[in-house]
């Protein structure tokens, strides 16, 4: 075996992230590591890459015991990692990004021409051509992914760890990536792929190891298993199925007509968007993140000014209105990034829960402290948020609990429209189920829900209608009845545009 990890255990305080995990990898093999959020996949790989040290257990590469204190020593043993969030320098060129750390020089001076030639050659060799002089920030995500892999190859890696490699890619780019992985494996490179996308796993990997709650629940050859078995191993129980009431959608609560937004250099970020959300329906917006979804949400919620078109909330024009007025007009909003938009990290649970409600809990300019407390305490109970007291700092909450707090805060509004942007990103299954159930309950109660998610399963599970966004435009609309993963994927990558 090229690589063997034996009995790896990792504790963080009293949390056990990995419990006696065994994992191995052969030469030219593609071995997938699957599991839900929080199952311990990333921790295991951080240990292998020298970013964390195991509490106990051993790692062998080519039969030799190794222990890595830092990524550099892992790299020296031929291990490379492509992180989920790309580790690139946006203003540097492709070649600079690939050779950094091992730059070709002429008399101490960085030889950029040589670097470009080396990179070009490397790309040809592995069948992944790139333009070495292109600036990375201007490259599409698929190209950036390629740069990451070439960087690892340039560093001389034989074992390549890919952490959620397809999250930001279009379906077409995903296909290309999987082809690249297979051909590299044929050339003798070995891959570990961390993911929770089972279809991709089945397509590309030789073997699959499933983790649940830090423990291995199975290691299987891809030929002996199927998606159903894998998901059982991942989840360990039957998922609560979502039951939607038959509700006839009512009046339109959100109407977007001909919305357009231009970026700083006049580039169109949103073009001629028409969208309607009616009371009692969930409209799902699918698309690879970065195709205008953020701008759309910000435009509706008043965080961004509109260049063209109209937005109406319950029949009232809201363009030009500020965030507070729009909220009072009947908008609740679970933001796409809980740390960036959704919370103040150094403030208490109470303060975080108060946001958006603070004008409703006002008497002569003062906050009604007692009522606020009761309210937030109720949410904690209702949603099972592990928060200690309301005076606890939110930075002590786990991602899932913070997300539940944010969701509870927004559910508590008596709103006509609820925007739920990536409502379950990076949370455990328990929190996901609670949030999904509550979203549907809101819909059943006659609230219009605009769900924005890059997870197709989430979109398919919850939506009544699905709108696909591609490059700032609406690429198509499908009703839930007719929607299949294939149809949506095609629209997501810009193919078969319809209006």
């Amino acid at each position: 075996m090229l690589l063997q990890m034996k009995n790896i255990t990792k504790h963080y305080g009293n949390v056990t992230a990995n419990q006696a995990v065994n994992f191995d990898l052969g030469e030219g093999e593609v071995h997938a590591l699957v599991g839900e959020n929080g199952a311990g996949k990333t921790t295991l790989m951080r240990i292998l890459y020298g970013m964390e040290q195991p509490s106990s257990g051993s790692v062998q590469v080519k039969g030799n015991n190794v222990s890595f204190d830092n990524p550099a020593s892992a790299m020296a043993s031929g291990i490379g990692m492509v992180h989920q969030h790309f580790m690139l320098f946006p203003s540097f060129t492709v070649a600079e990004n690939i050779v950094i750390g091992r730059e070709p020089t002429v008399g101490g001076v960085f030889d950029r021409n040589k670097a470009a030639a080396l990179v070009e050659e490397l790309g040809e060799k592995y069948g992944m051509p790139v333009d070495p002089w292109a600036v990375v920030s201007e490259c599409p995500m698929g190209m950036q992914q390629r740069v990451e892999i070439l960087k690892v190859l340039y560093q001389g890696a034989d074992i390549i760890i890919l952490d959620e490699p397809t999250g930001a890619l279009t379906p077409l780019e995903v296909k290309e990536l999987l082809v690249n992985i297979k051909s590299l494996a044929l050339q003798g490179k070995s891959f570990i792929i961390i993911t929770h996308k089972l279809h991709e796993v089945m397509e590309v990997s030789d073997r699959i190891t499933v983790l649940r709650d830090g423990q291995v629940t199975g290691t299987l050859a891809a030929s002996d298993t199927d998606v159903e078995q894998l998901s059982r191993l991942m989840v360990g129980r039957e998922l609560v199925s979502i039951v939607k009431k038959d509700v006839e959608p009512g009046e339109a609560v959100l109407e977007v007509k001909g919305l357009g937004i231009r970026g700083p250099k006049g580039k169109a970020l949103l073009k001629d968007i028409h969208l309607e959300v009616r009371a009692g329906e969930v409209v799902g917006i699918a698309g690879i993140s970065g195709n205008g979804q953020s701008e759309l949400i910000q435009a509706i919620s008043g965080l961004r000014s509109i260049d063209e078109g109209k937005v109406q909330l319950s029949g009232v024009d809201i363009q030009g209105m500020d965030v507070r007025d729009i909220r009072e007009q009947g908008l609740a909003h679970i933001p796409e990034d809980r740390y960036l938009w959704g919370a103040a990290k150094d403030a208490t649970v109470l303060d975080n829960g108060l946001m958006g409600h603070h004008h409703k809990l006002k008497r002569r300019g003062l906050v009604k402290g007692k009522e606020a407390r009761t309210k937030v305490t109720e949410w904690i109970k209702q949603f099972g948020i592990k928060a200690g007291t309301v005076d606890n700092n939110v930075q002590n909450l786990s991602g899932g609990n913070l997300q539940k707090l944010i969701a509870a805060r927004e559910f508590a509004h008596d709103s006509h429209l609820l925007i739920a942007a990536e409502p379950t990103r990076g949370v455990d299954i328990g929190a996901m189920e609670i949030i999904h159930t509550e979203l549907i309950r809101k819909r059943d109660a006659g609230v219009g829900v605009l769900l924005v998610s890059s997870e197709l399963t989430e979109i398919l599970q919850l939506s009544d209608r699905i709108v696909v966004m591609y490059e700032g435009e609406i690429a198509g609309e499908i009703s839930a009845m007719d929607a299949t993963e294939e149809k949506i994927s095609l629209l997501m990558s810009g193919g078969n545009r319809q209006t």
Partner: protein, 355 residues
Amino acid sequence: MSIIKQSLRGLIQPLIAVIIGLIAGAIAILVVGGSVTETYMEMWKGAFGSFYFTTNTLARATPIILAGLGVALAFRAGFFNMGADGQMILGGLSAALTAIYLPGPGWLVLVVSIIAGIVTGGLWSFFAGWLDAKFGMNLLITTLLLNYIATLFAGYMVAYPFMDKTGSAAMAQSAMIDQSVWLPKLFQGMGLHAGFIIAIVAAVLLYFFMKKTVMGYEIRMLGNNPLFASYGGVKRGRMMMIAMLVSGGLAGLAGAGEVLGTQYRFLDGSMTSANYAWSGIMATLLANSHPIGTAVAAILLAALQTGAMGVERNTDVPLEVASVIQAVLTLFVSAKIGYAIWKRRKGKKTNGTTT
């Protein structure tokens, strides 16, 4: 963690900071060949040794508290207002000119003068806030630059158009303010004036404002995470201008109080050389922008300064030793902020990072 333990820990940090500051001071004293115990004894006496010295210390603390409160408000909202010096000077200048040239009954002129000081300081600060909110000009730098412009402008005003021509010395200063417009002294023959009461009331009011009011809540959240605040409907530009207006207003009040309660005229350079505004910023940093804490820290800094004057009177150790102690104290406290962040990062890792 229990509440008692938490508040104990809250006390330990400033205490350690004070001790470190005193150790740095001791080193400085030894450098100039003084006796550490004798110097610190004299320092204590100079600050709180008698009723007179105590009131003297509190009188000095008055402008520091007010300027510090203004800065604390801005810091809490996330704005580095470094312009307290200029805001205070312009507040003092306009209070002095109003008090000298406005006719009317003394008490009325006094009130109008104080308001003039607040408004002038507030507008000068508001200008910087407006430049940032409207044109994206970095507030930290503009407020610093505006200090120099304010100082030079005030200097010009009392050196040319409003210079006191009655005095024999050709000092750059305004005429004397009529006695009927003076802020009353709290005790006969002592330096302490009614401005101190105003300062303490302001500290308590600001504390309740930040803690209990909706606007205080919005300001706190804005300082904590501006994106979160705007997502929740807080208007950053508007808040910035309000916060800067109030912040500068408090600094202007500090200047007005100093002119109407202590100096009774505007003397060029007197406020800058006394370092009131910068001491106020230090007090804010020491108290981590907590209003009551800022007032306490301001009294501590004033005590160091008046104490050091006592030291200079009675020993060979120069009074500048106080500035070393202050600076080390502030530096240590700012490092503590870092320590907290560092600990938090470690803490976060132990929560398990799986994304």
